[in-house]
């Protein structure tokens, strides 16, 4: 007789060893980005080509700064989790682990660098 429930036996048995949280995270972050990006693309695009003073002034604007910070953090988590699926699709063993660590770290480095720049401009 099994005391374990069917669900308990199934959890972790899939190829990714996790449930549907990853997919749901991609939906939530994707929809958030879909809302933010049209406005952010306009603001970022308008800032390109300006002098340093103009660029600093553009990103010193509270709305632009907050939106840019949100786009950075959400998009880099979206990238890390989406890229992790690709790594899981194509790599096994040590290469998979190295790849997962790499994409997650790359996303963290980029997001942190961008946030540092925004804070430095804001101060």
């Amino acid at each position: 007789m099994h005391y374990m429930t069917d669900r308990k036996r199934a959890v972790g048995a899939g190829a990714a060893h996790t449930g549907t949280l990853q997919h749901w995270f991609m939906t939530v972050s994707g929809v958030a980005l879909a809302v933010m990006l049209p406005v952010w693309l306009y603001l970022f695009g308008a800032a390109i080509g300006g002098t340093r003073d103009q660029v600093v002034a553009a990103f010193a604007n509270p709305f632009t700064a907050i939106l840019t910070a949100l786009v950075l953090v959400v998009s880099m988590r979206h990238f890390a989790k989406g890229s992790a699926v690709m790594v899981e699709d194509y790599a096994q063993g040590a290469a998979r682990k190295a790849g997962l660590i790499f994409v997650s770290s790359l996303a963290a480095v980029i997001a942190t660098t961008g946030l540092y720049a925004l804070i430095r401009i804001a101060l």
Binding site: G30, V31, L37, G45, R52, V55, A117
Partner: protein, 131 residues
């Protein structure tokens, strides 16, 4: 089935998808493009964040990053990223539709693939015109 019992010899079977004879379809191409654009976008993100960091740090550093950003190379990366972001945007919305069990009929799904490709080009041109 018959070969499976008693014999230690493994039958060579074609792996799926069998790339030499694979007939590409709109649904598979649009799916692969979603993954490619999502990853290629990192080029634009890295250039953009570097440019912003340079603007925050100093005048000479910004002069360097801005020269790269406004060069033909920078423009190529930014224009490519703009198309990639719009493609990924539309393809992502398509996935939200699919999750809601909409647009899953083959004809509709193929049509949505064309919407992603053509729509992304239209949105890219539109963004360049507006910005």
């Amino acid at each position: 089935m018959a070969e499976a019992t008693g014999s230690s010899k493994r039958v060579e079977r074609p792996l799926s998808p069998h790339l030499q004879i694979y007939r590409i379809q709109m649904t598979s191409v649009s799916s692969i493009l979603t993954r490619i654009t999502g990853h290629a976008l990192m080029a634009g993100v890295i250039l953009g964040v570097w440019w912003l960091l340079a603007a925050a740090v100093s005048e000479p550093y910004f002069a360097l990053a801005n020269a790269v950003m406004t060069s033909w190379f920078g423009k190529l990366v930014m224009t490519g990223s703009l198309w990639a972001v719009w493609y990924h945007y539309l393809a992502g919305l398509r996935h939200v539709l699919f999750d809601a069990r909409l647009g899953l009929e083959i004809k509709t799904a193929e049509m949505l693939g064309w919407v992603c490709i053509l729509g992304s080009v239209v949105l890219t041109v539109l963004t360049i015109v507006i910005v």
